[in-house]
């Protein structure tokens, strides 16, 4: 019956050990969102291709999603296997994008 103790330890750890960079993450998310909104106008003025604009925006989205997953969803502090669980479907995301674009 060691399992409940492990869970209690996990809860205790979340409560006591987290540095809680929640405000910093919120500020970063806001800054990146403001930057994202400028991309279409900047792209038109600087003659960026749609592919370049899409690449910039998808990169910033991955950064934002990672911040939420790591800090707000606590994946940074969870066991590695649980952290990898939501990464699994991303392989299929890549496959789907490549398949759709190649046809």
């Amino acid at each position: 019956m060691a399992a409940p103790t492990t869970v209690a330890h996990g809860t205790e750890r979340i409560a006591q050990e987290l540095k809680r960079p929640y405000v910093l993450v919120l500020v970063l998310l806001a800054i990146v969102t403001v930057a994202e909104v400028q991309v279409p106008t900047l792209g038109r003025n600087l003659d960026f291709t749609t592919t370049l604009q899409a690449s910039l925006l998808m990169t910033s989205s991955v950064v934002k999603a990672s911040l939420v997953a790591l800090y707000y969803m606590h994946l940074r502090y969870e066991p590695r296997l649980l952290s990898l669980l939501p990464v699994g479907p991303l392989v299929f995301v890549l496959l789907l994008v490549v398949t759709v674009m190649s046809h």
């Binding site: 492990t6 409560a15 939420v68 707000y72």
Partner: protein, 270 residues
């Protein structure tokens, strides 16, 4: 170890309401997909029975909570309920991947796709950028609510839960107002229309993707409202912090989906 397994088997929950809601989803979406409307009605009725049954059971203090606290290998130390939510989130990633992938296929094949930098782009980008920040802020307040719940800070937890509920409601309300405006004023419909026929493919992709996301946010609001009402009534239960955390995981997930949907629908042209 054998005893632990036997005990885990004995205490496995037998609440009928999750199965009822799952059947509601099966009938409802099956009916929608095949346009067999009686199945949709059955789905809606089952949804009402399932949710109503759960609320009735909760109001009477009947608990079917899983007493097996944690998984063994390979997810050592992770609670069963939290693991369940993560597996559900993985299934939702597949769902939205399919939806966004279909939108991408439509985008590359459609004869016309509007450019966000052009003056006749039908969507309101500045308003939705503000709305995006509102949803991100609700993720922040939810994370604070989870933290307060783990620390046992009752007042903080209530304040942040309510803040999340208000921010989430604001997000859905602004989206609903935008829907009305673009439908009536910009003639962006989910189907081709004679006034702006070139927007048919874009409208179909836009309403499908943002609509399903909005439905997910609305579902999350029900969960938040349920938690908030229980917290405001001062009703505590042994695993409350974990329940708040699990609802929080779902809430952050809908935020992550929007983080991708916002640039895909509002900022990237073709």
């Amino acid at each position: 170890m054998a005893e632990a397994h036997a005990e885990a088997h004995e205490v496995h929950h037998r609440s009928i309401w999750p199965l009822t809601v799952a059947l509601a989803g099966g009938f409802g979406f099956g009916g929608l997909a095949t346009q067999m409307w009686p199945l949709v009605v059955i789905g809606i009725v089952l949804l009402g029975v399932g949710v109503g049954g759960f609320l009735w059971q909760d109001a009477r203090g009947i608990s079917f909570a899983v007493k097996q606290a944690a998984e063994e290998k390979p997810f050592v130390g992770i609670s069963v309920r939290k693991l369940g939510m993560w597996i559900f989130i993985v299934s939702e990633i597949f769902f939205f991947t399919g939806l966004i992938g279909a939108g991408l296929a439509l985008r590359v094949r459609a004869p016309f796709w509007p450019n966000p930098a052009s003056s006749d782009f039908p969507l309101n980008v500045p308003l939705t950028a503000v709305n995006t920040f509102i949803l991100i802020a609700s993720s922040f307040t939810m994370a604070e609510a989870v933290h307060a719940a783990h620390l046992g800070k009752e007042k903080h937890m209530k304040v942040f839960l309510l803040a999340t509920l208000i921010l989430g409601t604001t997000f859905v309300s602004i989206q609903a107002i935008e829907y009305f405006k673009i439908f009536l004023e910009e003639n962006l419909t989910p189907w081709p229309n004679p006034i702006r026929p070139e927007l048919g493919s874009f409208g179909s992709a836009f309403y499908t993707q943002t609509g399903f996301h909005g439905a997910h946010v609305t579902g999350g609001l029900f969960g938040l409202a349920f938690l908030s009402v229980k917290a405001l009534r001062g009703r505590a239960w042994p695993s409350r912090a974990e329940t708040v955390e699990i609802v929080g995981l779902y809430w952050h997930f809908v935020d992550v989906v929007w983080i991708f949907l916002f640039p895909i629908m509002y900022l990237i042209g073709r």
